[in-house]
């Protein structure tokens, strides 16, 4: 009974997401194409940074999604712990690798951007450092999930860590800011200081929208994959359980006590 009602919701999800997924994917592709055109071709080069400013159009949306993805996971973790909803498990687990990928993209583009700006691949800048810690936390979460052979139990334990991290990430950010001002007297050129010109703002906003849509499409597809993976696992367990229990039942039923051959 419990099994059927808990399967009902993922089943409904599979049906509506199969209709939604193509639409979101096409939208994401179109917006991304427009955004990339605006960012790489149509928008002007920066008067100080030249063409390297175009990295911003990937870096900023990636950083935003790196955090956004964690918020999605925290909401899902709440759903797992409070309502024990199986879809929430799948959602959090599906979001983690996507979040890790966007976080890596943010780190990578930040590093590539840093080379022409700061003359070095890596600077222990407050933002880069907090994002690096976030990246490690994503990887730690993925490792924790993988360590459990029962996905339901793993999802619940991981949900606790997600929420602990959710409380901790602002503290880490605050600490790293403090650490940074202590160790690096403000000598770094920051991008967010001056107001951004509308000719750059628009492409940036389009790229943020595009990345959000890409995330949505990837997340939907990953949740679907996760649900199918669990069903495959459940089916395996059911198949493994069947012959043994049939045999046990027939032993109990046969008065002579002769064990009949297990089917299959």
């Amino acid at each position: 009974m419990g099994a059927i009602s808990s399967l009902a919701n993922p089943t409904r999800f599979l049906s509506w997401s199969s209709r939604l997924l193509p639409i979101v994917s096409v939208l994401a592709a179109v917006t991304l194409a427009v955004g990339l055109y605006l960012a790489l071709v149509a928008s002007p080069a920066d008067y100080q940074q030249g063409d390297s400013v175009r990295i911003m159009y990937v870096h900023v949306p990636a950083s935003y999604l790196a955090m956004m993805c964690y918020v999605v996971m925290a909401a899902a973790a709440l759903g797992t712990l409070v309502w024990r909803h199986p879809l929430a498990d799948a959602s959090a687990r599906a979001a983690a690798p996507i979040g890790a990928a966007f976080t890596f993209l943010a780190l990578f583009t930040g590093s590539v951007w840093g080379k022409p700006m700061w003359g070095t691949w890596w600077v222990w800048d407050a933002r880069l450092t907090s994002v690096l810690v976030l990246f490690i936390m994503y990887l730690g979460l993925i490792a924790l999930w993988r360590a459990f052979d029962d996905p339901t139990r793993g999802a619940r334990v991981a949900a606790v860590l997600i929420l602990v991290g959710f409380i901790n990430i602002p503290i880490i950010k605050f600490s790293v800011d403090w650490w940074n001002t202590l160790h690096q007297p403000a000598s770094i050129v920051r991008m967010d200081g001056p107001t951004i010109d509308p000719s750059m703002l628009w492409p940036l906003l389009v790229m943020i929208a595009a990345f959000t849509l890409v995330f949505l499409a990837l997340h939907l597809a990953a949740i679907r994959a996760e649900i199918y993976r669990r069903r495959a696992r459940t089916t395996e367990i059911m198949i493994a359980a069947r012959p043994a229990s049939t045999a046990a039942r027939s032993v109990a039923a046969s008065p002579a006590g002769v064990p009949p051959q297990a089917a299959g």
């Binding site: 712990l81 810690v133 490690i136 936390m137 990887l139 730690g140 490792a143 924790l144 360590a147 459990f148 139990r153 619940r156 334990v157 949900a159 606790v160 860590l161 929420l163 602990v164 991290g165 409380i167 901790n168 503290i171 880490i172 605050f174 600490s175 790293v176 403090w178 650490w179 202590l182």
Partner: protein
């Protein structure tokens, strides 16, 4: 209360018996700190500059060693089930284990830190500052560690995983611990502000970690 002190007592006493990790942790701390000069060179000026940070990192690493046994043993021998059935709140149990862990694993290391500080050429003021900040901050490390131990209780190679999960969460404690030492030594930097924040971390984690650890243990049994 008697249940709380009984678990604290059992944790401390188990840590010092055969198979307990308290002395191994202390030895590990000695080794890590004394290996540092081999890496960075015997320059005493450099060592006295990075010394406080070395001691802090040494404590952080040493406190990771016993995490796999902190709840893993109870998970294996059925004690966790008995504690849950007893009706004693799980958060009290987690808090008691973490306190015992700090007393047996943390406190000896903190007390050894000023002695090791001598071979890192720390000034008397620095020795005092390191010990004080470690006393204030290392309980937070034990609490955060307890969450890691609870998350990975019963997993194969759980200790390694616990270390990976705990280290990023410990970054704030490390930052403010070392910042407070530096504040005590170099004049322009403040001491009191980072020290108070460090103390706040200890208090905050003493509340949050037992709740999170209890939830992780309960869900891990389910």
């Amino acid at each position: 209360m008697s249940a709380f002190s009984a678990i604290v007592g059992q944790t401390v006493s188990a840590s010092f018996r055969a198979g307990g990790g308290a002395l191994t942790g202390l030895l590990f701390f000695l080794t890590v700190v004394s290996v540092f000069p081999f890496g960075v060179g015997p320059d005493l000026n450099l060592l006295s500059r990075i010394g406080p940070a070395v001691l802090w990192i040494g404590v952080l690493l040493s406190l990771l060693l016993g995490l796999d046994r902190l709840f893993g043993q109870d998970r294996e021998d059925g004690a966790l089930e008995l504690i849950m059935v007893s009706g004693e709140p799980m958060a009290v149990y987690v808090f008691a284990r973490a306190c015992g862990y700090w007393l047996a694993h943390g406190l000896p290391i903190v007390l050894a830190a000023p002695v090791l500080g001598l071979i890192l050429n720390l000034t008397p003021l620095a020795l005092g500052a390191v010990t004080l900040t470690l006393l204030a901050g290392s309980p937070a490390l034990a609490m955060i560690g307890a969450v890691g131990g609870a998350l990975t209780a019963g997993l194969a190679r759980g200790g390694m995983l616990a270390a990976i999960l705990v280290l990023p969460l410990s970054v704030p404690v490390l930052i403010f611990g070392v910042a407070a030492v530096n504040g005590a030594l170099a004049d322009p930097d403040p001491f009191l502000a980072p020290f108070l924040i460090l103390t706040a971390f200890t208090l905050f984690s003493s509340v949050l970690a037992p709740i999170a650890g209890a939830a992780a243990l309960r869900l891990g049994l389910d």
